[in-house]
Protein backbone atom coordinates (compact mmCIF):
# COMPACT_ATOMS: atom_id res chain seq x y z
CA UNK A 1 0.00 0.00 0.00
CA UNK A 2 2.59 2.53 1.08
CA UNK A 3 4.83 1.47 -1.76
CA UNK A 4 2.04 2.17 -4.21
CA UNK A 5 1.54 5.66 -2.89
CA UNK A 6 5.14 6.73 -3.36
CA UNK A 7 5.43 8.42 -6.70
CA UNK A 8 8.55 9.08 -8.67
CA UNK A 9 10.20 12.32 -7.59
CA UNK A 10 10.07 13.74 -11.09
CA UNK A 11 7.03 15.94 -11.62
CA UNK A 12 5.80 15.55 -8.06
CA UNK A 13 4.84 18.73 -6.25
CA UNK A 14 5.02 17.30 -2.74
CA UNK A 15 7.11 14.25 -1.89
CA UNK A 16 7.23 12.90 1.66
CA UNK A 17 9.35 9.92 2.70
CA UNK A 18 9.15 8.38 6.16
CA UNK A 19 7.90 11.70 7.47
CA UNK A 20 7.34 11.94 11.24
CA UNK A 21 6.56 14.71 13.65
CA UNK A 22 6.55 14.38 17.43
CA UNK A 23 5.33 17.27 19.57
CA UNK A 24 6.93 17.62 22.99
CA UNK A 25 4.09 18.51 25.31
CA UNK A 26 3.88 18.75 29.08
CA UNK A 27 2.15 15.34 29.04
CA UNK A 28 5.10 13.84 27.21
CA UNK A 29 5.73 13.34 23.50
CA UNK A 30 2.76 13.16 21.10
CA UNK A 31 3.33 11.49 17.76
CA UNK A 32 1.32 13.66 15.38
CA UNK A 33 2.74 12.05 12.24
CA UNK A 34 4.43 8.71 11.87
CA UNK A 35 6.23 7.31 8.84
CA UNK A 36 4.19 9.08 6.16
CA UNK A 37 5.15 8.27 2.56
CA UNK A 38 3.22 10.28 0.04
CA UNK A 39 3.64 11.88 -3.35
CA UNK A 40 1.43 14.58 -4.77
CA UNK A 41 1.58 14.91 -8.54
CA UNK A 42 1.17 18.08 -10.51
CA UNK A 43 -2.49 18.93 -11.07
CA UNK A 44 -3.70 16.47 -8.43
CA UNK A 45 -6.60 17.24 -6.17
CA UNK A 46 -5.73 15.34 -3.01
CA UNK A 47 -7.98 15.14 0.03
CA UNK A 48 -6.78 14.20 3.49
CA UNK A 49 -9.52 12.68 5.58
CA UNK A 50 -9.56 11.25 9.07
CA UNK A 51 -10.78 11.85 12.62
CA UNK A 52 -9.35 14.71 14.64
CA UNK A 53 -5.83 14.05 15.86
CA UNK A 54 -4.90 12.00 12.79
CA UNK A 55 -2.33 14.58 11.70
CA UNK A 56 -4.02 15.74 8.49
CA UNK A 57 -3.73 19.41 9.38
CA UNK A 58 -0.23 18.86 10.75
CA UNK A 59 0.83 17.33 7.45
CA UNK A 60 -0.50 20.36 5.58
CA UNK A 61 1.32 22.65 7.99
CA UNK A 62 4.56 20.74 7.42
CA UNK A 63 4.20 21.30 3.67
CA UNK A 64 3.64 24.99 4.41
CA UNK A 65 6.70 25.18 6.70
CA UNK A 66 4.45 26.11 9.61
CA UNK A 67 5.62 23.00 11.50
CA UNK A 68 9.01 21.30 11.42
CA UNK A 69 9.14 17.50 10.92
CA UNK A 70 11.23 15.52 13.40
CA UNK A 71 11.85 12.51 11.15
CA UNK A 72 12.04 11.63 7.46
CA UNK A 73 12.17 14.05 4.58
CA UNK A 74 9.81 16.17 2.55
CA UNK A 75 10.21 18.27 -0.56
CA UNK A 76 7.90 20.86 -2.06
CA UNK A 77 8.55 21.60 -5.72
CA UNK A 78 11.81 19.70 -5.21
CA UNK A 79 12.91 22.12 -2.47
CA UNK A 80 12.73 22.12 1.30
CA UNK A 81 9.44 23.52 2.61
CA UNK A 82 11.30 26.58 3.92
CA UNK A 83 12.83 27.29 0.54
CA UNK A 84 9.43 26.77 -1.10
CA UNK A 85 7.78 29.15 1.33
CA UNK A 86 10.43 31.77 0.66
CA UNK A 87 9.64 31.47 -3.03
CA UNK A 88 5.94 31.75 -2.27
CA UNK A 89 5.24 28.38 -3.82
CA UNK A 90 1.84 27.88 -2.23
CA UNK A 91 -1.32 29.65 -1.16
CA UNK A 92 -2.82 28.59 2.16
CA UNK A 93 -6.51 28.70 3.03
CA UNK A 94 -7.22 28.36 6.74
CA UNK A 95 -10.20 26.91 8.59
CA UNK A 96 -11.53 30.39 9.17
CA UNK A 97 -11.33 33.09 6.54
CA UNK A 98 -8.80 35.06 8.66
CA UNK A 99 -9.54 38.25 6.75
CA UNK A 100 -8.17 41.37 8.39
CA UNK A 101 -11.26 43.23 9.61
CA UNK A 102 -9.77 46.69 8.99
CA UNK A 103 -9.20 45.95 5.31
CA UNK A 104 -11.83 45.83 2.60
CA UNK A 105 -12.10 42.60 0.60
CA UNK A 106 -10.03 44.19 -2.13
CA UNK A 107 -7.33 45.26 0.32
CA UNK A 108 -7.35 41.83 1.93
CA UNK A 109 -6.64 40.25 -1.42
CA UNK A 110 -3.99 42.91 -2.00
CA UNK A 111 -2.21 41.96 1.24
CA UNK A 112 0.06 39.21 -0.16
CA UNK A 113 0.66 41.31 -3.26
CA UNK A 114 1.75 44.28 -1.13
CA UNK A 115 4.11 42.05 0.80
CA UNK A 116 5.55 40.63 -2.40
CA UNK A 117 5.95 44.09 -3.87
CA UNK A 118 3.66 43.71 -6.87
CA UNK A 119 3.29 46.93 -8.85
CA UNK A 120 0.03 48.86 -8.48
CA UNK A 121 -1.33 48.33 -11.96
CA UNK A 122 -0.76 44.60 -11.90
CA UNK A 123 -2.13 44.44 -8.38
CA UNK A 124 -5.49 45.91 -9.42
CA UNK A 125 -5.61 43.60 -12.39
CA UNK A 126 -4.98 40.49 -10.30
CA UNK A 127 -7.51 41.53 -7.66
CA UNK A 128 -10.15 41.95 -10.35
CA UNK A 129 -9.27 38.59 -11.85
CA UNK A 130 -9.42 36.54 -8.64
CA UNK A 131 -12.57 38.31 -7.45
CA UNK A 132 -14.13 37.21 -10.70
CA UNK A 133 -12.75 33.70 -10.24
CA UNK A 134 -14.50 33.25 -6.86
CA UNK A 135 -17.65 35.03 -8.02
CA UNK A 136 -17.24 38.07 -5.76
CA UNK A 137 -17.24 40.72 -8.44
CA UNK A 138 -18.59 43.98 -7.01
CA UNK A 139 -17.81 43.10 -3.39
CA UNK A 140 -14.24 44.42 -3.42
CA UNK A 141 -15.08 47.59 -1.53
CA UNK A 142 -17.02 45.81 1.23
CA UNK A 143 -15.58 45.10 4.65
CA UNK A 144 -15.45 41.44 5.76
CA UNK A 145 -18.25 41.83 8.32
CA UNK A 146 -20.57 42.93 5.56
CA UNK A 147 -20.23 39.50 3.89
CA UNK A 148 -21.69 36.11 4.79
CA UNK A 149 -19.44 33.33 6.08
CA UNK A 150 -19.39 31.60 2.70
CA UNK A 151 -18.48 34.80 0.90
CA UNK A 152 -15.73 35.51 3.42
CA UNK A 153 -14.24 32.08 2.80
CA UNK A 154 -14.41 32.68 -0.96
CA UNK A 155 -12.57 35.96 -0.42
CA UNK A 156 -9.88 34.11 1.49
CA UNK A 157 -9.55 31.66 -1.41
CA UNK A 158 -9.22 34.62 -3.77
CA UNK A 159 -6.46 35.96 -1.53
CA UNK A 160 -4.62 32.64 -1.75
CA UNK A 161 -5.00 32.63 -5.53
CA UNK A 162 -3.88 36.23 -5.99
CA UNK A 163 -0.16 35.59 -6.26
CA UNK A 164 -0.42 32.67 -8.66
CA UNK A 165 1.19 29.92 -6.64
CA UNK A 166 0.77 26.53 -8.33
CA UNK A 167 -0.03 24.76 -5.09
CA UNK A 168 -3.11 25.46 -3.01
CA UNK A 169 -3.21 24.14 0.57
CA UNK A 170 -6.69 24.14 2.07
CA UNK A 171 -7.30 23.26 5.70
CA UNK A 172 -10.99 22.42 6.17
CA UNK A 173 -11.95 25.65 4.44
CA UNK A 174 -15.68 24.87 4.38
CA UNK A 175 -15.90 23.12 7.76
CA UNK A 176 -17.75 25.95 9.46
CA UNK A 177 -20.32 26.47 6.69
CA UNK A 178 -23.75 24.94 6.33
CA UNK A 179 -24.34 22.10 3.90
CA UNK A 180 -26.05 24.08 1.14
CA UNK A 181 -23.31 26.70 1.02
CA UNK A 182 -20.72 23.96 1.21
CA UNK A 183 -22.18 22.09 -1.78
CA UNK A 184 -22.16 25.28 -3.78
CA UNK A 185 -18.56 26.10 -2.87
CA UNK A 186 -17.43 22.54 -3.62
CA UNK A 187 -18.88 22.86 -7.10
CA UNK A 188 -17.20 26.23 -7.57
CA UNK A 189 -13.89 24.93 -6.27
CA UNK A 190 -13.89 22.11 -8.81
CA UNK A 191 -14.54 24.56 -11.63
CA UNK A 192 -11.79 26.79 -10.33
CA UNK A 193 -9.38 23.87 -10.15
CA UNK A 194 -10.30 22.90 -13.68
CA UNK A 195 -9.70 26.43 -14.97
CA UNK A 196 -6.48 27.19 -13.08
CA UNK A 197 -4.76 23.82 -13.28
CA UNK A 198 -3.49 24.09 -9.73
CA UNK A 199 -2.42 21.30 -7.44
CA UNK A 200 -4.69 21.22 -4.41
CA UNK A 201 -4.18 19.59 -1.03
CA UNK A 202 -7.47 19.64 0.81
CA UNK A 203 -8.06 18.66 4.43
CA UNK A 204 -11.60 17.65 5.36
CA UNK A 205 -13.56 15.44 7.72
CA UNK A 206 -16.48 15.02 5.35
CA UNK A 207 -16.54 11.83 3.30
CA UNK A 208 -18.88 13.15 0.54
CA UNK A 209 -16.76 16.28 0.20
CA UNK A 210 -13.54 14.27 -0.12
CA UNK A 211 -15.01 11.88 -2.69
CA UNK A 212 -16.70 14.59 -4.69
CA UNK A 213 -13.63 16.80 -5.00
CA UNK A 214 -10.62 14.55 -5.18
CA UNK A 215 -8.57 12.70 -7.72
CA UNK A 216 -7.02 10.89 -4.76
CA UNK A 217 -8.16 10.45 -1.19
CA UNK A 218 -5.67 9.90 1.60
CA UNK A 219 -7.28 8.22 4.60
CA UNK A 220 -5.51 8.85 7.89
CA UNK A 221 -5.90 7.57 11.43
CA UNK A 222 -4.75 8.87 14.81
CA UNK A 223 -2.33 7.90 17.59
CA UNK A 224 0.09 7.94 15.92
CA UNK A 225 -1.09 9.98 12.93
CA UNK A 226 -0.49 7.87 9.84
CA UNK A 227 -1.75 7.09 6.34
CA UNK A 228 -3.93 3.98 6.27
CA UNK A 229 -5.24 4.06 2.70
CA UNK A 230 -4.78 5.98 -0.54
CA UNK A 231 -7.75 5.77 -2.90
CA UNK A 232 -7.55 6.71 -6.55
CA UNK A 233 -10.84 8.18 -7.67
CA UNK A 234 -12.41 6.63 -10.74
CA UNK A 235 -14.87 9.48 -11.15
CA UNK A 236 -14.63 11.55 -14.34
CA UNK A 237 -13.18 15.02 -14.17
CA UNK A 238 -16.54 16.54 -15.04
CA UNK A 239 -18.61 16.18 -11.86
CA UNK A 240 -22.12 17.57 -11.53
CA UNK A 241 -23.46 17.57 -7.95
CA UNK A 242 -25.78 14.63 -8.63
CA UNK A 243 -22.81 12.39 -9.34
CA UNK A 244 -22.97 11.89 -5.59
CA UNK A 245 -25.85 9.50 -6.03
CA UNK A 246 -24.08 7.35 -8.62
CA UNK A 247 -23.03 3.81 -7.63
CA UNK A 248 -19.42 4.64 -8.47
CA UNK A 249 -19.41 7.54 -6.04
CA UNK A 250 -21.02 5.44 -3.32
CA UNK A 251 -18.47 2.68 -3.84
CA UNK A 252 -15.59 5.06 -3.28
CA UNK A 253 -17.33 6.61 -0.28
CA UNK A 254 -17.81 3.11 1.11
CA UNK A 255 -14.12 2.36 0.76
CA UNK A 256 -13.21 5.61 2.51
CA UNK A 257 -15.57 4.73 5.34
CA UNK A 258 -14.05 1.27 5.62
CA UNK A 259 -10.60 2.83 5.72
CA UNK A 260 -11.62 5.17 8.50
CA UNK A 261 -13.18 2.30 10.45
CA UNK A 262 -10.15 0.03 10.13
CA UNK A 263 -7.95 2.91 11.28
CA UNK A 264 -10.00 3.14 14.43
CA UNK A 265 -9.93 -0.61 15.09
CA UNK A 266 -6.18 -0.38 15.70
CA UNK A 267 -6.59 1.42 18.96
CA UNK A 268 -9.36 -0.74 20.43
Amino acid sequence: MEGASVQPASGSVVQANGLGLTFQTSDGPVEALSNVDLGVGKGDFISFIGPSGCGKTTFLRVIADLEQPTAGSITVNGMTPREARRRRAYGYVFQSAALYPWRTIEKNIALPLEIMGVARGEKMERIARVLDLVDLKGFGKKFPWQLSGGMQQRASIARALAFDADLLLMDEPFGALDEIVRDHLNEQLLKLWDRTNKTICFVTHSIPEAVYLSTRIVVMSPRPGRVTDVIESTLPKERPLDIRESPEFLAIAHRVREGLRSGHSHEV
Binding site: A64, L66, R88, F94, I115, F143
Partner: protein, 308 residues
Protein backbone atom coordinates in the same frame (compact mmCIF):
# COMPACT_ATOMS: atom_id res chain seq x y z
CA UNK B 1 -66.76 57.11 19.22
CA UNK B 2 -65.76 59.44 22.01
CA UNK B 3 -63.83 56.66 23.70
CA UNK B 4 -61.86 56.07 20.51
CA UNK B 5 -61.10 59.78 20.22
CA UNK B 6 -59.96 59.94 23.80
CA UNK B 7 -57.76 56.90 23.86
CA UNK B 8 -54.79 58.41 21.97
CA UNK B 9 -54.66 61.22 24.53
CA UNK B 10 -54.65 58.72 27.38
CA UNK B 11 -51.92 56.74 25.64
CA UNK B 12 -49.70 59.66 24.80
CA UNK B 13 -49.40 60.94 28.38
CA UNK B 14 -47.44 57.95 29.74
CA UNK B 15 -45.74 57.80 26.34
CA UNK B 16 -44.01 61.16 26.87
CA UNK B 17 -43.02 60.36 30.42
CA UNK B 18 -41.65 56.95 29.59
CA UNK B 19 -39.79 58.34 26.60
CA UNK B 20 -38.08 60.89 28.81
CA UNK B 21 -37.21 58.43 31.55
CA UNK B 22 -36.09 55.79 29.07
CA UNK B 23 -33.57 58.24 27.59
CA UNK B 24 -30.45 59.45 29.34
CA UNK B 25 -31.46 63.07 29.94
CA UNK B 26 -33.83 62.64 32.85
CA UNK B 27 -31.70 60.21 34.89
CA UNK B 28 -28.64 62.43 34.44
CA UNK B 29 -30.53 65.57 35.45
CA UNK B 30 -31.97 63.82 38.50
CA UNK B 31 -28.52 62.73 39.66
CA UNK B 32 -27.03 66.22 39.08
CA UNK B 33 -29.91 67.85 40.97
CA UNK B 34 -29.42 65.40 43.83
CA UNK B 35 -25.70 66.13 44.02
CA UNK B 36 -26.33 69.89 44.05
CA UNK B 37 -28.97 69.53 46.76
CA UNK B 38 -26.65 67.43 48.92
CA UNK B 39 -23.86 69.94 48.32
CA UNK B 40 -26.04 72.85 49.49
CA UNK B 41 -27.08 70.92 52.58
CA UNK B 42 -23.47 70.18 53.47
CA UNK B 43 -22.42 73.78 52.78
CA UNK B 44 -24.98 75.01 55.30
CA UNK B 45 -24.06 72.31 57.80
CA UNK B 46 -20.27 72.79 57.58
CA UNK B 47 -20.32 76.59 57.48
CA UNK B 48 -22.84 76.94 60.32
CA UNK B 49 -20.41 76.91 63.30
CA UNK B 50 -18.26 79.64 61.76
CA UNK B 51 -21.32 81.72 60.98
CA UNK B 52 -22.71 81.41 64.50
CA UNK B 53 -19.30 82.47 65.89
CA UNK B 54 -19.31 85.49 63.63
CA UNK B 55 -22.79 86.53 64.79
CA UNK B 56 -21.81 86.15 68.42
CA UNK B 57 -18.64 88.20 68.01
CA UNK B 58 -20.61 90.95 66.32
CA UNK B 59 -23.38 90.59 68.90
CA UNK B 60 -25.93 90.44 66.10
CA UNK B 61 -29.40 88.96 66.20
CA UNK B 62 -30.14 86.62 63.35
CA UNK B 63 -33.11 84.96 61.70
CA UNK B 64 -33.22 81.60 60.01
CA UNK B 65 -33.36 83.00 56.45
CA UNK B 66 -30.56 85.45 57.14
CA UNK B 67 -28.49 82.61 58.64
CA UNK B 68 -29.12 80.45 55.60
CA UNK B 69 -28.17 83.24 53.21
CA UNK B 70 -25.01 84.10 55.14
CA UNK B 71 -23.73 80.52 55.42
CA UNK B 72 -23.90 80.26 51.64
CA UNK B 73 -22.13 83.59 51.04
CA UNK B 74 -19.08 83.46 53.29
CA UNK B 75 -15.81 84.84 52.02
CA UNK B 76 -13.78 81.86 53.27
CA UNK B 77 -16.29 79.05 53.77
CA UNK B 78 -15.32 75.55 54.85
CA UNK B 79 -17.34 74.33 51.88
CA UNK B 80 -18.28 76.98 49.32
CA UNK B 81 -21.77 76.74 47.88
CA UNK B 82 -22.19 75.71 44.24
CA UNK B 83 -23.25 79.18 43.07
CA UNK B 84 -20.17 80.73 44.71
CA UNK B 85 -17.93 78.33 42.78
CA UNK B 86 -19.84 78.92 39.56
CA UNK B 87 -19.61 82.70 39.87
CA UNK B 88 -15.89 82.48 40.75
CA UNK B 89 -15.26 80.32 37.68
CA UNK B 90 -17.31 82.73 35.55
CA UNK B 91 -15.47 85.76 36.93
CA UNK B 92 -11.94 84.35 36.59
CA UNK B 93 -12.60 82.80 33.19
CA UNK B 94 -14.61 85.38 31.28
CA UNK B 95 -14.20 88.75 32.97
CA UNK B 96 -10.43 88.78 33.47
CA UNK B 97 -7.94 89.07 30.62
CA UNK B 98 -6.43 85.60 29.88
CA UNK B 99 -2.93 87.08 30.27
CA UNK B 100 -3.61 88.09 33.88
CA UNK B 101 -2.28 85.90 36.69
CA UNK B 102 -5.73 86.03 38.25
CA UNK B 103 -7.30 84.45 35.19
CA UNK B 104 -8.30 80.80 35.38
CA UNK B 105 -7.71 80.55 31.64
CA UNK B 106 -4.09 81.55 32.16
CA UNK B 107 -3.51 78.94 34.86
CA UNK B 108 -5.49 76.35 32.94
CA UNK B 109 -3.36 76.90 29.85
CA UNK B 110 -0.13 76.53 31.83
CA UNK B 111 -1.30 73.19 33.16
CA UNK B 112 -2.79 72.10 29.84
CA UNK B 113 0.43 72.75 27.91
CA UNK B 114 2.42 70.63 30.38
CA UNK B 115 -0.29 67.96 30.21
CA UNK B 116 -0.26 67.78 26.42
CA UNK B 117 3.52 67.72 26.20
CA UNK B 118 3.74 65.02 28.88
CA UNK B 119 0.97 63.03 27.24
CA UNK B 120 2.67 63.19 23.84
CA UNK B 121 6.05 62.09 25.23
CA UNK B 122 4.39 59.46 27.44
CA UNK B 123 2.37 57.96 24.59
CA UNK B 124 5.42 57.84 22.32
CA UNK B 125 7.57 56.32 25.06
CA UNK B 126 4.84 53.82 25.90
CA UNK B 127 4.51 52.72 22.27
CA UNK B 128 8.27 52.38 21.84
CA UNK B 129 8.62 50.31 25.01
CA UNK B 130 5.69 48.11 24.01
CA UNK B 131 7.20 47.49 20.55
CA UNK B 132 10.48 46.51 22.21
CA UNK B 133 8.77 44.29 24.76
CA UNK B 134 6.74 42.46 22.12
CA UNK B 135 9.69 41.90 19.78
CA UNK B 136 12.54 41.13 22.16
CA UNK B 137 12.25 38.36 24.69
CA UNK B 138 15.03 39.83 26.77
CA UNK B 139 13.27 43.17 26.93
CA UNK B 140 10.02 41.46 27.86
CA UNK B 141 11.74 39.80 30.81
CA UNK B 142 13.83 42.79 31.88
CA UNK B 143 11.80 45.93 31.17
CA UNK B 144 8.27 44.95 32.12
CA UNK B 145 9.03 44.47 35.86
CA UNK B 146 10.62 47.93 35.97
CA UNK B 147 7.66 49.46 34.20
CA UNK B 148 5.36 48.02 36.84
CA UNK B 149 7.72 48.92 39.70
CA UNK B 150 7.84 52.52 38.48
CA UNK B 151 4.15 52.90 39.19
CA UNK B 152 4.36 51.62 42.76
CA UNK B 153 6.37 54.69 43.81
CA UNK B 154 4.05 57.49 44.94
CA UNK B 155 4.27 60.28 42.39
CA UNK B 156 4.12 62.86 45.21
CA UNK B 157 7.39 61.47 46.56
CA UNK B 158 9.23 61.44 43.28
CA UNK B 159 7.91 64.65 41.72
CA UNK B 160 9.97 67.13 43.79
CA UNK B 161 13.13 65.10 43.11
CA UNK B 162 12.55 65.13 39.37
CA UNK B 163 11.98 68.88 39.41
CA UNK B 164 15.06 69.56 41.59
CA UNK B 165 17.34 67.26 39.61
CA UNK B 166 16.22 68.69 36.27
CA UNK B 167 16.63 72.23 37.59
CA UNK B 168 20.17 71.34 38.63
CA UNK B 169 20.99 70.33 35.05
CA UNK B 170 19.47 73.52 33.74
CA UNK B 171 16.06 72.27 32.70
CA UNK B 172 13.21 74.30 34.06
CA UNK B 173 9.80 75.53 33.05
CA UNK B 174 7.51 73.31 31.02
CA UNK B 175 9.63 70.20 30.52
CA UNK B 176 10.11 69.03 34.13
CA UNK B 177 6.36 69.22 34.74
CA UNK B 178 5.69 67.48 31.44
CA UNK B 179 8.08 64.71 32.44
CA UNK B 180 6.06 64.03 35.58
CA UNK B 181 3.00 63.70 33.34
CA UNK B 182 5.06 61.38 31.16
CA UNK B 183 6.00 59.31 34.17
CA UNK B 184 2.34 58.62 34.87
CA UNK B 185 0.98 58.45 31.32
CA UNK B 186 3.44 56.06 29.66
CA UNK B 187 2.31 53.21 31.89
CA UNK B 188 -1.23 52.58 30.60
CA UNK B 189 0.08 52.95 27.05
CA UNK B 190 2.78 50.30 27.58
CA UNK B 191 0.35 47.85 29.14
CA UNK B 192 -2.37 48.47 26.54
CA UNK B 193 -0.03 48.35 23.56
CA UNK B 194 1.74 45.18 24.70
CA UNK B 195 -1.66 43.53 24.84
CA UNK B 196 -2.71 45.14 21.55
CA UNK B 197 0.42 44.17 19.63
CA UNK B 198 -0.02 40.61 20.89
CA UNK B 199 -3.71 40.51 20.00
CA UNK B 200 -3.42 39.06 16.44
CA UNK B 201 -4.60 35.45 16.37
CA UNK B 202 -2.19 32.63 15.60
CA UNK B 203 -3.95 32.10 12.28
CA UNK B 204 -3.34 35.73 11.23
CA UNK B 205 0.34 35.44 12.12
CA UNK B 206 0.57 32.10 10.26
CA UNK B 207 -0.89 33.81 7.23
CA UNK B 208 1.92 36.39 7.28
CA UNK B 209 4.40 33.54 7.68
CA UNK B 210 3.08 31.79 4.56
CA UNK B 211 3.69 35.01 2.60
CA UNK B 212 7.25 35.05 3.91
CA UNK B 213 6.55 38.52 5.30
CA UNK B 214 9.39 40.32 7.07
CA UNK B 215 9.12 41.24 10.75
CA UNK B 216 8.58 44.84 9.78
CA UNK B 217 5.76 43.93 7.36
CA UNK B 218 4.08 41.76 9.98
CA UNK B 219 4.32 44.63 12.44
CA UNK B 220 3.07 47.31 10.10
CA UNK B 221 0.32 45.38 8.34
CA UNK B 222 -0.93 43.20 11.18
CA UNK B 223 0.24 44.02 14.71
CA UNK B 224 -0.07 47.80 14.49
CA UNK B 225 -3.63 47.92 13.07
CA UNK B 226 -4.71 45.18 15.49
CA UNK B 227 -3.45 47.29 18.40
CA UNK B 228 -5.39 50.44 17.49
CA UNK B 229 -8.44 49.85 19.74
CA UNK B 230 -6.08 49.10 22.62
CA UNK B 231 -3.99 52.20 21.94
CA UNK B 232 -6.93 54.56 22.09
CA UNK B 233 -8.38 52.97 25.21
CA UNK B 234 -5.00 53.39 26.93
CA UNK B 235 -4.68 56.94 25.66
CA UNK B 236 -7.97 57.86 27.30
CA UNK B 237 -6.55 56.83 30.66
CA UNK B 238 -3.15 58.34 29.86
CA UNK B 239 -4.47 61.79 28.99
CA UNK B 240 -6.49 62.07 32.21
CA UNK B 241 -3.59 60.85 34.30
CA UNK B 242 -1.27 63.30 32.49
CA UNK B 243 -3.33 66.16 33.83
CA UNK B 244 -2.97 64.77 37.35
CA UNK B 245 0.79 64.57 36.77
CA UNK B 246 1.00 68.15 35.61
CA UNK B 247 -0.94 69.41 38.62
CA UNK B 248 1.17 67.33 41.00
CA UNK B 249 4.27 68.70 39.26
CA UNK B 250 3.16 72.25 39.99
CA UNK B 251 2.62 71.73 43.69
CA UNK B 252 5.90 70.80 45.37
CA UNK B 253 8.08 73.49 43.84
CA UNK B 254 5.92 76.42 44.75
CA UNK B 255 5.25 77.05 41.11
CA UNK B 256 3.64 80.41 40.49
CA UNK B 257 1.39 79.38 37.64
CA UNK B 258 -0.90 76.51 36.77
CA UNK B 259 -3.92 74.89 38.38
CA UNK B 260 -1.64 73.14 40.88
CA UNK B 261 -0.17 76.47 41.96
CA UNK B 262 -3.69 77.84 42.20
CA UNK B 263 -4.71 74.93 44.48
CA UNK B 264 -1.63 75.45 46.65
CA UNK B 265 -2.07 79.21 46.96
CA UNK B 266 -5.74 78.68 47.74
CA UNK B 267 -4.91 76.34 50.60
CA UNK B 268 -2.24 78.72 51.99
CA UNK B 269 -4.68 81.59 52.24
CA UNK B 270 -7.83 79.65 53.02
CA UNK B 271 -9.32 80.57 49.65
CA UNK B 272 -11.60 77.57 49.40
CA UNK B 273 -13.65 79.06 46.59
CA UNK B 274 -10.47 79.41 44.55
CA UNK B 275 -9.52 75.79 45.31
CA UNK B 276 -12.89 74.47 44.25
CA UNK B 277 -12.96 76.47 41.05
CA UNK B 278 -9.46 75.22 40.18
CA UNK B 279 -10.64 71.67 40.86
CA UNK B 280 -13.63 72.10 38.59
CA UNK B 281 -11.48 73.67 35.90
CA UNK B 282 -9.16 70.63 36.11
CA UNK B 283 -12.10 68.26 35.90
CA UNK B 284 -13.50 70.10 32.89
CA UNK B 285 -10.15 70.01 31.10
CA UNK B 286 -9.74 66.29 31.85
CA UNK B 287 -13.26 65.54 30.60
CA UNK B 288 -12.63 67.52 27.42
CA UNK B 289 -9.32 65.77 26.76
CA UNK B 290 -10.83 62.33 27.31
CA UNK B 291 -13.72 63.26 25.01
CA UNK B 292 -11.30 64.41 22.28
CA UNK B 293 -9.36 61.14 22.48
CA UNK B 294 -12.70 59.32 22.38
CA UNK B 295 -13.70 61.13 19.20
CA UNK B 296 -10.32 60.38 17.62
CA UNK B 297 -10.84 56.74 18.61
CA UNK B 298 -14.20 56.60 16.86
CA UNK B 299 -12.91 58.35 13.74
CA UNK B 300 -9.93 56.02 13.40
CA UNK B 301 -12.01 52.88 13.93
CA UNK B 302 -14.57 54.17 11.44
CA UNK B 303 -11.87 54.68 8.83
CA UNK B 304 -10.68 51.15 9.57
CA UNK B 305 -14.18 49.83 8.96
CA UNK B 306 -14.55 48.73 12.57
CA UNK B 307 -16.93 51.42 13.83
CA UNK B 308 -18.53 50.23 17.02
Amino acid sequence: MSAAAESPVVDSAPGVVSRLTAGKTVPILVVVAAIIAIWYAFAVYLNAPGQIDAYERAGEEWTATQFLRDTLAQERPVLPSPHQVVSEIWKTTFTIKPSSKRSLVYHGWVTLSATLMGFAIGTLLGILLAVGIVHHRAMDKSVMPWVIASQTIPILAIAPMIIVVLNAVGLSGLLPKALISTYLSFFPVVVGMVKGLRSPEAIQLDLMHTYNASGFQTFWKLRWPSAMPYLFTSMKIAVAISLVGAIVGEMPTGAVAGLGARLLAGSYYGQTIQIWSALFAAAAIAATLVAIVGIAHRLVLKRMGMAA
